[in-house]
Amino acid sequence: MPFIPKLDKNKKGEPIIVKKTIQHGPKKGKKGYVDSSGKIWIRDRAHGDYPDHWDVQENGGKMGRTRVGDDGEPL
């Protein structure tokens, strides 16, 4: 599950990775990186049995999330 960024253009016309705010769930308010399918990726630090990973939030956090490791594979 590699991260494919959603790109827009900045004021210089250069590509820029779009960021969005998580609107639902415990991570509400955090800014994450948007992928090409509209999911928001936020960094989550190691906790419990999980190493550092990415929380990929669907629909702004409304529809849960998938944990993805640094190798791009779901945990």
Partner: protein
Amino acid sequence: MKPSEDDLSRGLVAVGSAGGWQVDLDEAISDDERWFMQIEGPSVYLNFEVESPRVIDKALEFLMKRKKADSESRRRWSRKNDELKIGKCDKELVTLVRDDEFADRYFLAVQTATKLTFRVTFGGKDLVQLESALRQAKIDVDDEGPE
């Protein structure tokens, strides 16, 4: 009327990460010239508007200042408190504060207009990692060229 921060589309300008710390700099993807910074540490997450990407340089210089004094003069560390305002908005003051007791201890302080105060203490390994994250973000900013 200026759009609220939530209404703005944002894009990533610079990022730096070291240990448990990450620094992001975003810009508004619109005609508005607005910049936002996120600082995340082991126990803190802050998002706030900043004046310009130069804030990263200023923050680094501020944190590095203690090392300069130690190596240049070897004198006793100045007991005077020192502060650097890094947030843009005066109603939500975000400030880096240098400790006057320990040269490697700093505080990240947030105070709102209603006097709600939030402070994070960092030093030692956290300070080194935050500096490293800022340095990486500075490389991205420098690569972007002049504003």
